[in-house]
Amino acid sequence: MSVIRFIVKRFIISIVTIFLLVTLSFFLLRTLPGNPFQTETLLTVEMQEKMMSYYGLDKPLFEQYLTYMQNLLQGDLGYSIKYRNRTVNEIIATSFPVSADLGLRALAVALPIGLFLGVLSARKRGKLTDYLCVLLSVIGVSIPSFILGSFLQYIFALKLQILPMAQWQTEWHTILPTIALALSLLAILTRVMRASMLEVMSQDYVKTAKAKGLSEGKIVRRHQIRNASIPILTMLGPMVTSVLMGTFVVEKIFALPGLGQHFINSITGLDYTVTLGLTVFFGIFMVFANFLVDIAYGIVDPRIRLMK
């Protein structure tokens, strides 16, 4: 019974969250100065106004909002203002797969390695291995991805010439961007897992397990890793969302046709519909990811399960 209720409750909360998100974004966007056609210097003010009315942007704001919401309910995110003749749905449908592909690859690399290094580092606390892991995670967190990306291109594409420089075509093309994106994820995961493991290792129940006569290996496997993963689960929702939604910098450096560019370009270009559409998409994705995380959370940690 409680599982169904939990799901229904979460669903309603999600709908309300997304509704608020869209509404707020809609009105906030319009407070930005200027209009979408200003930047195109060839257009006279008269022409600009014509365009505005063509897109319905001259109507009262609230009316525009109602229209937008009506379309949204039917899954229609509208036309892009900048890319003539392209709907926002089309933009997402072509760009998202690229971003998601890259994101999944990066996660598939970063998750196992990050967790492994976190556990290793905590178990070898204060030893050389630990320092190396900490060093790697500091480097991973502090090197901006555009520097790492360019560096990888320089070494592997330009100097060694063993991997393609950019583009998204064959498996070979995916290697460098995956590394560029994965390193920072890996670094964060290593750091969180290390801290979490250290905390778990000092818990009383670990002493109980040791007092039972369990070997170190069994204690780590049965009692420590599972409990230490709980904080990782919490951060996984936002992490997966932001990674799959595309990262502007990495996609830019490797000239990938992903979603990341549209986030930035649509805001600087005041392409309202694209910005809003992406926000909605992002919001739904995030809500869904967090929902999955919560379910996983309940499976791993029975204390949570009962409270909901």
Partner: protein
């Protein structure tokens, strides 16, 4: 004559910290015989936990470090056993339950699994048999609905019930010695009594020796055969329960006896504690550790450490008052009433 199971000899143990070497246990000796209950009593921080956790080698090194001494279990010197060797003893020969039953069970694991993993770690029996054994254990420690309880998580039990589960885990492989580190401190008074009675019953039934740690002498009156009083990393007095309760020799033991809550007394509700604080274990005093708090402190006490003086075959104490040249002092307060 009962066999001596465990013997700790002239044992010193320190922690290396940034502030310096914390001398948590400073040369202690004690032993445990078959089927008896030894209570180790002392204020918080006196080194009781460090002393007994060392018997099972539960303290990681670093920061912990054995400075000197021996731990002998059934005639075998286990002081420098490797982790591999200790795993054979832990849970099977020596078991331990801890102070806080809220934190000493793994919150994400069913209690059945927590019991069964202990059993199967030492006995290669099929899971179904281990389950049966776990049910039997839970019944024995007084958990209602033992079969259903197997699949429950620790947070669904009360503190007292969790401590019963801990006892079940500890007794799973019929250990010869059960070490209980303040097993009732975190529980309310009624539950406390129940748990102590349970431990007593199980001890009678299985003939397990118990090392009972507590800061409350009242707790041990009913249970213990012998008592060791610890202060600032040393055992300052040891003897049978009768000796410690009726003819205590050390001023610190006197202080502890006065801090037992007495239900019948007029002073009920007003606990007397010994004024002052224990010494710093990074730079312990060279004389008697209790000197700064002792009403009877003499010049020599601050300068030279008192030797252990035998009072009977079973009782001894470390205090300059026992020296023949010292003035004779009497315990100030009323005779302590019989507790059991």
């Amino acid at each position: 004559m009962k066999e001596t199971l465990l013997e700790v000899k002239q044992f010193k143990f320190s922690f290396d910290t940034y502030a310096g070497e914390v001398q948590a246990v400073r040369n202690i000796s004690f032993h445990v015989k078959e089927g008896e209950t030894l209570a180790i009593v002392g204020e918080s921080g006196s080194g009781k936990s460090v002393a007994v956790q060392n018997v099972m080698k539960l303290i990681p090194s670093p920061p912990g470090r054995i400075i000197q001494g021996q731990i002998i279990y059934q005639g075998e010197d286990i002081t420098h056993y490797t982790d591999r060797q200790m795993e054979q003893l832990r849970g099977k020969e020596l078991s331990m339950i801890f102070q806080d039953p809220m934190t000493s069970l793994n919150p994400t694991m069913k209690i059945g699994d927590q019991i069964i993993e202990g059993i199967r770690n030492h006995e290669p029996i099929p899971r179904a048999d281990a389950v049966k054994k776990a049910i039997k254990l839970l019944t024995e420690v007084g958990i209602p609905d033992p079969k259903d309880s197997l699949s429950r998580y620790p947070h669904t039990f009360s503190g007292g019930m969790r401590q019963r589960v801990m006892i079940a885990i500890a007794l799973a492989c019929n250990p010869k010695i059960l070490i209980a580190d303040e097993p009732t401190t975190a529980l309310d008074v009624t539950t406390q009594t129940q748990i102590l009675e349970l431990m007593n019953d199980l001890k009678e039934k299985h003939g397990t020796s118990i090392v009972m740690i507590t800061h409350d002498l009242g707790v041990v009156a009913k249970m213990a055969d012998r008592i060791a009083v610890m202060y600032a990393g040393k055992i300052v007095e040891t003897g049978t329960v009768e000796e410690i309760f009726y003819q205590p020799k050390h001023p610190y033991t006197w202080g502890l006896l006065q801090s037992i809550p007495k239900v019948s007394s007029k002073r009920m509700g007003k606990l007397e504690t010994i004024p002052g604080t224990p010494p710093d274990l990074i730079a312990p005093p060279k004389g008697c550790g209790f000197a700064s708090r002792c009403k009877f402190c003499m010049n020599i006490c601050k300068e030279v450490e008192p030797e252990s003086v035998s009072i009977s075959a079973s009782q001894s104490a470390k205090c300059w008052l026992l020296d023949e040249r010292a003035p004779r002092v009497e315990r100030e307060h009323e005779e302590v009433k019989k507790y059991s």
